[in-house]
Symmetry: C2
Subunit: 202 residues, 2 copies
Amino acid sequence: MFPPILRKISLFLQRLPGIGEKTANRLSFFLLRLPENDLKTFGQNLIDLKQKIKLCQKCFNLSEEDLCPICADKNRNQKTIIVVETVLDLLAFEQGKIYQGVYHVLHGKIDPLNRITADDLKIKELIDRLKNEEVEEVIIATSPDMEGEATAVYIKEKIEKEVFPQKKIKISRLVYGLPIGANLEYADYLTLKKALEGRREL
Amino acid sequence: MFPPILRKISLFLQRLPGIGEKTANRLSFFLLRLPENDLKTFGQNLIDLKQKIKLCQKCFNLSEEDLCPICADKNRNQKTIIVVETVLDLLAFEQGKIYQGVYHVLHGKIDPLNRITADDLKIKELIDRLKNEEVEEVIIATSPDMEGEATAVYIKEKIEKEVFPQKKIKISRLVYGLPIGANLEYADYLTLKKALEGRREL
């Protein structure tokens, strides 16, 4: 008995994680009470979203430009790279403003059960970066679970094999403070700060 | 460090009830992974929402037409009217398919503390309906709290004063099963069914 357009909005909202039918209905009604201009702006942003967002050519962060704001920032230390699984992990570091280097986003972790191999990740691109850029340290911040650890080891060996003959780079891994099995993006930034300070060489 | 368009989407989502910053960020990323066509359809629906939705001229349910689908349905018993506070309350009845009559949506309840008086509600319109339509029973389903009860009593007295001289109508009130202080829209439909069956005359 929802008017069709409101039902469509509610059904769409029900596809979002953590939103069931009743919540979606309530949110639809809430949307209906918002100022029309706000709805129009939001609707237009959704329409434009996929066209505007691309991946940074250097670190594969999300970006509207060829280079993301972090890679384009001359004030950041481009010689230290934190390797993360996802853009949300990158954001967790950025929210704390605890780190002044740059990133490399893998877009996943090696996960044989889900058929995600090293080739599906931006690992080759990381190796190319290390070969071509002036980098002093790579901090591997994949998640502290089995797949994340395996990905870290894989990347470390790959760097040793393909980059080290050419030049030495410090490789480290986040350790202190991260609870095993936890999801990096949910960590508070103080925990992340500790993990960053207590990193050990691989 | 969010791309601007994604940050705008996240900020908008944070205005919705129950959605904080982290949830909004996660939802934004989820949206980014959805098919572009689905996003475009949803965005367009949001843009059109306020223009398409109006109130049913008869019962003040939300509708895209002059008459809502319930009032326009010849198979429904137009002689029994359930009076509800909100469209969400109406939906709670409809989801259970336990009722074949029609509705009247007040759009609120008498609430002096929040300066909502009888004149702010669709009570006058209800009285007009009762005067002009052929109605046998009015079931007052305002919420079982102080304001809801006061609204029920007010409506009952108004009907007795303005409609009864002209014609008699049965007036009843939902009772059985509704926990005091609860919100009608959260009730499961079996509880609502009981409350409907056990209604008492006012």
